[in-house]
């Protein structure tokens, strides 16, 4: 499931591969989980979403879909899909019977032999690479990639994306509704109060059919009194055991919630009990809760590192929160693999465009040049190139496209960016769309921001692989500071 491929020399960050067999997707971590609203990345229809190549994991917050579509609709939809599938299968079997009668028996035998050989060779390749390959059906090669039911099919999320299901209690929507021993209090997207029991949550999960489910828990919010915190921590262990008992292939892999609370005593007591449960092998990863709630940066780093010291290395760790670039690097430095945030969307809604600017460009070209260095003349040429690049006009990390200076600017958002918006449209066009309040502006900016965010993650993975994480982090911090000028 999760395999560590490289551990960075100077920090605790690591490169890994997370396989999600349900969707036949292998993610390279650290990676970005794109947050969605009701299963859709806001403003983007599925064909637009496919224009961003590196987004593979999407997160859904259950309270958003609890009324519409709701449990009954999903159940009926799944039944409908199954009935359709079975009727298609019956038809196919009938067709095949006719075919078999037409073709002679000898031909059948030769076909089978060829298929067996193929299967054997597939298995051999699989064994060499250490990855399982499913043997293909005789009839339909596309059956693997067809999503049969669940929320993915309902919302047309497609075979390229995987689902990460979580539940956030009402405090995150700005309302305080007290949860009880039996129920979690949430806020639906219509703004109403709902209570979900953990077993209802798991029932939902099995209808949604996600790849990863986070165990039901109340993410404790900061200033609660000590005994309240202890209660909620006990509840989450109870609910984790319930979730394990209801875990099936349909609910996917299970991630347990870690409480990165301030008080180390409660935290460590909880961790002890949690790790005992984890030893049984039913928990497949962790989610850090209680972070990005107005604690300071140093405090956050401290809490994360104190916890990751005690966690088993071979299980992936994820975190949820609206983190800026350098804050993400704090987390990854201490060993976190999956980051779920809606930061690009927030930028879009403020009409800000991310200009990530590839700070590792020089480092990457240095590496190449080291391998190719032969003549002194070449060195001089390369130095000159770097100087010219540094003399380029200063562009901030975040560009506010409401600024009138973009009225005459016919460059794409970021020169050299390969996203759909930059290849097809210019800054002045989007400036115009924002001023007349057209929706297309949001689509183009969101596409661009998410694309640039995923470039950031790519660079991060390169930095870990080449043991240059600390230089990368410094480059990002100077980028962010320069934006504040």
């Amino acid at each position: 499931m999760f395999e560590i491929t490289h551990e960075e020399e100077n920090t605790e960050s690591r490169l890994g591969k997370l396989t999600l067999p349900k969707s036949s997707i292998t993610l390279e971590t650290p990676c970005f989980i794109c947050s969605t609203q009701r299963g859709f990345v806001r403003h983007l229809t599925p064909d637009n979403l496919l224009n961003i190549p590196d987004i593979e994991l999407l997160s859904i917050n259950l309270p958003q879909i609890i009324y519409k579509p709701g449990l009954t609709t999903l159940k009926r939809f799944n039944k409908y899909c199954q009935e359709k599938e079975s009727s298609i299968e019956i038809k196919e079997k009938e067709n095949q019977k006719e075919k078999d009668q037409e073709i002679g028996k000898e031909k059948e035998k030769t076909n089978k032999k060829e298929q067996e050989k193929e299967n054997e060779s597939n298995l051999k390749i699989g064994e060499e690479k250490g990855i399982e390959i499913e043997i293909e059906d005789e009839n339909d090669n596309n059956k693997q990639n067809q999503i049969k039911d669940g929320l993915k099919r309902y919302y047309g999320i497609g075979s390229k994306h995987a689902l990460f299901l979580k539940i956030r209690n009402s405090e995150f929507a700005g309302f305080y509704y007290p949860s009880t021993d039996e129920k979690i209090a949430c806020c639906s997207s219509e703004g109403t109060k709902i209570f979900i029991t953990p077993s209802q949550y798991m029932e939902f999960a099995s209808e949604i059919n996600p790849d990863i489910t986070v165990s039901p828990a109340i993410e404790v919010v900061g200033n609660n009194k000590r005994d309240k915190i202890e209660k909620q921590v006990k509840r989450s262990l109870k609910w984790l055991n319930l979730a394990i008992s209801k875990k099936t292939a349909r609910t996917g892999s299970l991630f347990a919630v870690l409480y990165a609370i301030e008080d180390p005593k409660i935290r460590n007591k909880y961790l002890d009990q949690l790790l005992k449960i984890v030893k049984n092998g039913k928990v497949d990863g962790f989610l850090f809760g209680c972070l990005f709630l107005n604690e300071s940066r140093i405090e956050r780093k401290k809490r994360i590192s104190e916890i990751t010291e005690l966690l088993p290395k071979e299980l992936p760790r994820s975190i949820v929160g609206d983190a800026t670039l350098s804050q993400i690097l704090d987390c990854v430095e201490k060993g976190i693999d999956l980051i779920n945030s809606s930061f690009p969307l927030k930028l879009t809604e403020l009409n800000l465009v991310l200009n990530y600017q590839n700070p590792l460009q020089n480092l990457r070209s240095e590496n190449k040049n080291k391998n190719q260095k032969k003549n002194k003349n070449e060195d001089i040429e390369i130095e000159n190139e770097n100087e010219n690049e540094n003399k380029k006009q200063f562009e901030p990390l975040l560009m506010n496209l409401r600024n009138i200076k973009y009225e005459d600017d016919n460059k794409p958002f970021v020169v050299g960016c390969q996203c759909f918006a930059c290849k097809n449209h210019t800054r002045q066009y989007v400036y115009h769309l924002i001023s007349v309040r057209e929706m297309t502006a949001m689509i183009l900016m969101n596409l661009h921001n998410i694309y640039q965010y995923s470039l950031f993650f790519k660079d991060m993975r390169w930095a870990i692989k080449n043991n240059k994480f600390i230089q990368f982090k410094e480059a990002i911090e100077t980028l962010e500071k320069s934006n504040l000028k």
């Binding site: 403003h43 609709t73 009225e407 002045q428 115009h432």
Partner: protein
Amino acid sequence: MSALEFEILAKSGKARTSILTLPHYKVTTPIFQPVGTCGSMKGLTSKQLKELDCQIILGNTYHLALHPGGEFFGKCGGLHEFMNWDRGLLTDSGGFQMVSLSKLAEVTEEGVNFVSPKDGSQMLLKPETSIKIQNQIGADIIMQLDDVVHVLTSGKRLEEAMYRSIRWLDRCIKAHSRKKEQNLFPIIQGGLNPELRKICLKEMIKRDCPGYAIGGLSGGESKDQFWKIVSLCTDYLPEDKPRYLMGVGFPVDLIVCSVLGVDMFDCVYPTRTSRFGTALVWEGTLKLKSEKYQFDFDPIEKDCDCLTCKTYTKSAIHTLVTKETVGCHLLTIHNIRFQMRLMQRFRESIKNNKMPEFVRGFMKAQFKKKGEKKITYPTWVIEALQSQQIELDYENDED
């Protein structure tokens, strides 16, 4: 002088299907033109528009002149470059918006004196300014500035408006500086008065323009009068030039007017209703906000090939519509595709010599109701189609 070519491929009575070759694209008519007001089609990218088979879209000169402005287009090379759209474009003159959106619009012989509702500033829109801005925008087809009056006006004011439109047409033709790249269409006025319409037709046809538009309709008149005026205009307009009926876009109207010989249409209806959750289908409309679609797992239309119908069910769209912007985009995609397919099937029916059957089948699907043995059609539809020897089917054989 004209910058277009018009070749009729097949005819069926007054209806015809043709190829209209514009400077930027070859358009097949009869065609529906979606409206992309300020340089974009509410939430769709140019790539999606191409997949929907949009061949020519409309831009509103009034909005584009306010922002970013005519001079801007002069600098940046036109609206095609600006929005990265390489197919056909049509701009209207700005006259209609000025009259419908402002409270104080004073019309004089010189032009329309307009008071902006935002800051009270005055602006004079003359035929020359309208044409100048449209020249800068660079669309394939541009419209004259006409004296727009409410369709139910009659008497002296209507007559004055009609004669003034002719005079303004001459001024527009004189001011037009890109005759080889842009086609200027006159707009036939005259309200609901057949005599005034005939005078206007005769005069404007004398100017020998590349194509003609029929204006002054689609604003609250009774449909009986509406179809008769349309039919009168198509009787008089030259056969070998395209005819554009402005502001008409409900599916039934599109088919009836295509039967009467119109080639081009435009309307905000499909894009606007999608934002309220209404989907257009062969049988009429579906209000997807209603609770009865919560458990309906069929696509909106089974034979539609748009992205929405191939991937989503009515139930999924019902949960999204008016709540997420994506719901609005998905419905817009379907509605525009519906209009395009409707026109495409009409064109094919003319080529295959089966236009009357197609119209009969379409009208039956639109107007039949469950439980009624006989189908009742609106009188104007019956009469308009009878004028072209198409008889409708009154038996409701329920499937």
